[in-house]
């Protein structure tokens, strides 16, 4: 401030400014509120998600001495195990997501009625999704072992005898993958079912009744009313499932150990955690970037095919 300005002028000048600012800020402040509320989320994500992700991407392009290179990626794409892991993962994802969705959808349609004990039943259905992954692993590895509870059960009820014990874990690649798909289905179907049930409750009985009054058959009502109204929920369930199905690995390692049935994320952990050298750590990083790209591509592909993007554009108009 210039010292030779009259004090009165100065104070008047300042007053107008502050008044102006105040009247302005009341408007902007109101608009600012939601941004202030979500600011911590944005800051947190940039610090603890975006930053490490960028870090991982950058480091995956460097070698042990910190020199820029494509070497880590070349190593991955030259490795035949990567392609095996890729095809195994694709097989498991396609079959498990399809089977899980069909079964879960059927169950959700069936259960979407008021019945006695429904609250207790829903709790039961939530048990597999609340079980820790390690407990699921312990459960199945104690069950599928040659002298596990599954064979014991079958023997106790006389289905098999000691000579015909089933070697669940000793099968070939195909039966290994089928077993993994079944176990995954056990863990996940209740979860998908609950998401779909929640969506079905939003559709409401009255809409379907209206369809019935206008002479729709059950199948027509399902196809023309229920499924279209349920579409956002179906998309949510499918995307969440695709994302986590591609990242399957822990149950495989808990049952079979590393390298028996290579899948993508198992290879990341193998490189990072088991091999121990920094060279492999960087390969693990590069591989996890590849996995992230595959996951995003699959999710976007699904969104595109299911037409969720079009819907969003329509909303914008």
């Amino acid at each position: 401030m210039r010292p030779d300005l009259p004090a009165a002028f100065l104070s008047g000048y300042m007053m107008t400014i502050t008044k102006d600012q105040l009247s302005l800020s009341k408007e902007t402040r109101k608009k600012m509120v939601p941004y202030l509320l979500i600011a911590p989320v944005v800051i947190y994500y940039s610090m603890f998600w975006l930053f490490p992700v960028l870090n991982a991407i950058i480091e995956s392009f460097k070698d042990v001495d910190g020199i820029w290179t494509f070497g880590n990626y070349i190593h991955i794409f030259k490795d035949p195990v990567f392609y095996e892991a890729l095809s195994n993962t694709a097989f498991i994802v396609i079959f498990s997501v399809t089977i899980e969705f069909i079964l879960a959808f059927g169950l959700a349609l069936l259960i979407n009625k008021k019945f006695r004990g429904s609250s207790m039943f829903l709790f039961l259905a939530m048990i597999p999704m609340s079980l820790p992954a390690v407990a699921v692993g312990a459960m199945w590895s104690s069950g599928l072992a040659t002298r596990g509870w599954l064979n014991s059960f079958l023997m106790n009820f006389g289905f098999i005898d000691d000579a015909s014990k089933i070697l669940f874990l000793a099968g070939g690649k195909m039966s290994t993958m089928l077993l993994i798909i079944i176990i995954d289905a056990w863990t996940v179907i209740p979860f998908v079912m609950i998401i779909l049930l929640a969506g079905l409750q939003g559709v409401g009985e009255d809409v379907r009744e209206a369809g019935a009054i206008f002479g729709g058959t059950k199948f027509q009502i399902l196809r023309k009313i229920t499924i279209p109204m349920l579409k956002p929920t179906i998309t949510t369930a499918m995307i969440l499932r695709i994302i986590s199905a591609i990242q399957i690995w822990l149950i495989i390692v808990l049952l079979y150990g590393f390298n028996r049935l290579p899948v993508l994320l198992e290879q990341v952990v193998l490189n990072y955690d088991q091999l121990g050298a920094e060279y492999f750590e960087r390969i693990g990083l590069a591989l996890s970037v590849v996995v992230a790209i595959i996951v995003s591509a699959a999710a976007i592909f699904y969104l595109k095919v299911s037409g969720s993007f079009e819907k969003e554009e329509k909303q914008d108009e």
Partner: protein, 360 residues
């Protein structure tokens, strides 16, 4: 008339088939979980020496002591063989050392507690009658106690897990709750992106996120610390919290807040005195959901801990490294699963409500 009967018949047939399917699903869900629990109560003897293994753990074990010229012999009743089988040392004598080691063996192998005096008493009976049969009540929780004694650092790991979960709840509920409120009450640019953030953060595998976090946390001095781990968990939990709290706040009408403001409270006051108390049960459910998420997580914890592992890491290492017998490991797994199952029981209604509000 005939039609009415037909309709009623059809309806009851429908009902019956519904219940049959429900019972079938319940059976498929419970079947493996039952065995997880069942194994965790079995003694080493039941687990490894009976075949086929019992489906239900026994509550007691039957023993027999008999005697020949060499000395005393101990037998245990084996259900699968349907008879007494030799148990423990082939031969033992009536002296303090032998009886003490016998007592320890019985406790370790069959989870049954018996005092040395009692054994001596039985031996006296054997001297007179040539054999004695007796049964001892099994200590059902023995595996659980042993797991925490044998597996290195298990009690401390539980404490670590609780601290991680507590910090995760604090971070994710405060940050996510603000976001959820903004979501429920305001329109703003980037709302859709924020909505999808829950998907974005899942697309980069958690284990891969943990790898660069090692360096970042080490720089912050938080590597191998509960707080450091909770910072990583909060990334996923914040987005869940936004979804859950948004649906909680949406279920509370804005008009209540407006009414409070007419009576002279500020916006903040209205939130504090009206909305928050109403939202409290939903927020508690959200906290429990965060608890379950962080309590169960194992992969990032394996990468991000070294000397201060969380409880799932301890169980994971016991399972992968086969450090313990399977009955011990199942006991550890059940101990880990129980809090998650109980919290799920409490918040089951909110889980449905929450997913109802979630739409991509």
């Amino acid at each position: 008339m005939n039609n009415v009967v037909k309709r009623q018949l059809r309806r009851s047939a429908k009902r019956t088939s519904l219940y049959i399917v429900l019972v079938g699903i319940a059976f498929i869900i419970i079947f493996p979980v039952f065995f997880l629990f069942s194994f965790s109560f079995m003694s080493d003897y039941e687990t490894y020496s009976e075949w086929p293994k019992p489906l239900v753990p026994s509550f007691k074990a039957n023993f027999m002591i008999d005697k020949n010229t060499e000395g005393y012999h101990l037998f245990i009743f084996n259900k699968s063989e349907d008879g007494f089988m030799p148990f423990g040392p082939l031969v033992f004598a009536n002296n303090e050392k032998d009886i003490d080691s016998l007592r320890k063996f019985i406790k370790l192998q069959s989870n049954c507690k018996i005092s040395s005096q009692k054994i001596v008493e039985y031996l006296k009976v054997v001297d007179n009658n040539s054999r004695v049969e007796f049964s001892i009540k099994k200590d059902l929780l023995a595996n659980y106690i042993l797991f925490f004694k044998v597996v290195n650092g298990a009690p401390k790991a539980v404490l670590n897990s609780l601290m991680v979960a507590g910090a995760t709840i604090l971070i994710s509920l405060s940050i996510g709750g603000l976001g959820g409120y903004a979501f429920a009450r305001y329109f703003f640019k980037g709302k859709n992106i924020l909505k999808l953030s829950v998907l974005f953060v899942r697309m980069f595998p958690a284990v891969s996120l943990a790898i660069p976090m090692v360096i970042i946390l080490a720089k912050m001095g938080l590597y191998d610390q509960p707080l450091g781990l909770s910072l990583v968990y909060s990334v996923g939990q914040i987005s869940m919290s936004i979804w859950i709290t948004a649906s909680v706040f949406m279920s509370i009408p804005v008009s209540l807040e407006e009414a409070a403001m007419i009576f002279g409270t500020s916006k903040v006051g209205a939130f504090w005195h009206v909305t928050l108390p109403l939202a409290l049960p939903g927020l508690a459910a959200c906290a429990m959901y965060s608890f379950i998420g962080s309590w169960n997580e194992v992969i990032a914890a394996v990468v991000l801990t070294q000397f201060n592992p969380t409880f799932p890491v301890v169980v994971y290492k016991a399972l992968v490294g086969s450090q313990g017998q399977i009955n011990l490991i199942t006991a550890g797994s059940v101990a880990q699963a129980l809090p998650a199952i109980i919290f799920t029981l409490i918040i089951r209604k909110y889980i449905i409500q929450m997913w109802g509000g979630v739409k991509v």
